[in-house]
Symmetry: C2
């Protein structure tokens, strides 16, 4: 039998909406040696990670910890822990990931009420508030930034409305946390989920989430203890309202992340090291400085794309700063362009889903990938590929336009 | 606001039933740079990982891939994908992790029929076969090696019986794969789950599993496609039998791991690199050689424990070769000993659960932790701690007894 080949990981410039490049400090952290899950040195890292998450998620919530799984594991954990069969859930959807919220809610037995807006736009808050009044849901679940359309939904008014109408406000902030402002507490978000592989710039595999006492109350009502761990007085606590998943049962998970250290699972050691180092990097950079870096690189990218004569997709008033959607020029196969970018330039940009499949490219500017050199190289490569395919675009303009932006930003800083 | 502290990971000798130490090659692999999930260089690693898993799991099954989550994520994925509300599931339990199977089955809506045997023993196959005849279950789910009691259940006859009575045989082999023989196909196991952080010796965070066409048939019957990915002819495929979890839906996951590359989640990049390198190491060592290494170190450890005058817990006829359970001497607080081992010697051994809590220590000899130096250091340290606590044990005997075993094994090899 042939031995398995050596691991082959070519270097890439990753300009997609995730997974994105990772700071070498994070990669180095992930190669640290193993600690037992109840080793005080490890539980200290768990506690410090919770503190880092609270700061990055801008919350005073006690509970802020990662689910060991990819982003949608966090979404499912949140939804299945609070939604019981028959619960009404309002899902205002403006892209693919609204559909995912609906899909997960349905599988939890929730009664889904969806409202839609055209892909490329987001909702006026009043539309959502009217739907809340009409459906009187237990939960409003929605996406903050939907990478499928490159749009961002303002949340503040919706958060207030949810509190006013006594429903829970759950937000999928996978595409935004760490790249643009997400104010969990100020916006009255009850439960928020994010992922590691986008603007947190940590490898995929963890889904940090946070929730407040309103959600904790539901968890405590639904709590049950695992067989084989039950001793003495703790008897049959299982009941009808029990959370349908063991792995995603937040009532158990919060005990694992509390001083009680309930033995639920074995925390993903290396992934936690990586998350912790990623959070450290974010806090060292500073949230506002980090958001500004994301805005600057987005501005440069957009200037370059426009200088090439390409068209941006969607309503510019609600553009997600971490993803730029570009219409594929007529007569061009978007996949041919992506393949040339990857094979010749080792640069990856993304295609899209559903109704936008084959119609737009999506270029991410997230986390460690969100760098001047990456933006400039991507513009230069995209221009070269399009010229090679005989698309009529002006040569040499894109990178110059982007450089102008960087110069302008420097000037603004100095003259400030 | 204080910055987060630098990541602090002290070196440890980890002699628990997991998580265990990891070969530096695995840690190095995990620090490689990110690849996009549909990058051909990454999908090649996915395919090669499947091939490596087939070999290590001793199966010809097409489907062998990891769930992105810890071991119990794999167990839940397997159970929730095949168990529908009301399905009868027979669970013969001989320790804590049988209880976990029951707990997850119940949450899936399955009708649990449990049989128990005293902790420290396993089942005679006839007992299980009689229970199969009596309950006529759809599924028999059981643990192969239960770390809570340090016992291993022979599976071959049960596998045959399950096939004969047309029920599915699901095995939790988290504690055994990579450390002792697990013959998925020969033992007629329909679905098998393992974890990374034990004998595969890869950090926690992935749960490799495999299943055959009997299970795939059920998955295909229950399959549905996610909203937002549905296009054109694919219409409302959701139905009553739909799997209750999106994240753990094996029908979707196998499409992600197939050439179709259904966009389900973003594969945990670094974790997959680690798993792949771990599998490579196992296959380079050779399965039989690896099992022999585990047997030798276990033998040395047991000899040392016995030379110290300590008592092993449980029926020696079904001892799990990768975990050694030691009764805590009377009058001694097991946690004091564990704390001294960790603080003074940087060695970690485990306590136990439920009825055995405070009664036994569990010493693992798994994967990269299963080394001569670790066994000798652990024996020396345990002896020193017990002497320090004035337990009456012979001084100096334990390590000598273990060294004798290693010498004897060398001699057997040479004279073979």
């Amino acid at each position: 039998m042939q031995p398995l080949k050596a691991l082959h990981v070519p270097a890439r410039t990753i300009m997609t909406p995730g997974p994105v490049e990772v700071d070498p400090r994070v990669l180095q952290a992930m190669s640290r040696s193993i600690l037992g899950q109840f080793d005080p040195a490890f539980t200290a890292i768990m506690n410090d990670t919770m503190e880092g998450l609270r700061r990055v998620l801008q919350t005073q919530n006690q509970w802020a910890y990662p689910i060991d799984g990819t982003s949608r594991a966090g979404i499912e954990a949140m939804l299945c822990s609070i939604i019981e069969p028959g619960d009404r859930v309002l899902i205002p959807s403006f892209g693919r990931f609204g559909g995912l919220l609906a899909e997960i809610t349905e599988r939890c037995g929730g009664e889904v009420h969806m409202i839609h807006t055209e892909w490329g736009t987001v909702f006026a808050p009043d539309t959502i508030i009217a739907a809340i009044k009409e459906t009187e849901p237990k939960v409003v679940a929605m996406v903050h930034g939907d990478t499928s359309t490159g749009r961002i939904q303002p949340l503040q008014e919706i958060g207030y409305a949810c509190r006013e109408h006594d429903c829970l406000f759950i937000v999928d902030a996978v595409a935004t946390v760490g790249g643009t402002d997400v104010k969990t507490d100020d916006w009255m978000i009850d439960g928020l989920i994010t992922g590691t592989q986008k603007c947190l710039s940590v490898p995929s595999g963890m889904a940090p989430l946070t929730y407040n006492h309103r959600i904790e109350e539901i968890l405590m009502e639904r709590k049950s203890i695992e067989q084989g761990l039950v001793t003495g007085e703790q008897e049959e606590l299982n009941h009808q309202r029990r959370i349908r998943s063991n792995y995603f049962d937040l009532s158990q998970l919060q005990e694992y992340w509390s001083p009680a250290r309930l033995n639920h699972h074995t925390e993903a050691t290396a992934a936690l090291y990586g998350l912790y180092e990623g959070l450290r990097l974010i806090l060292e950079e500073g949230l506002e400085q980090r958001f500004e870096r994301h805005r600057t690189n987005e501005r440069a990218l957009v200037a370059g794309i426009e200088a090439m004569g390409l068209t941006l997709f969607g309503d510019p008033g609600c553009k997600l700063p971490t993803v730029t959607c570009v219409e594929i020029p007529e007569g061009i196969n978007g996949e041919t362009v992506r393949a040339m970018l990857l094979e010749d330039f080792a640069i990856e940009v993304a295609s899209s889903f559903g109704p936008l499949h084959g119609k737009i490219w999506r270029i991410g500017t997230m986390g460690y990938s969100c760098q001047k050199k990456n933006v400039l190289q991507t513009l230069a490569a995209l221009e070269a590929v399009l010229l090679r395919l005989q698309v009529k675009i002006p040569a040499g303009e894109a990178v110059q336009a982007a450089l102008d932006v960087y110069k302008q930003v420097e000037y603004e800083k100095v003259s400030h």
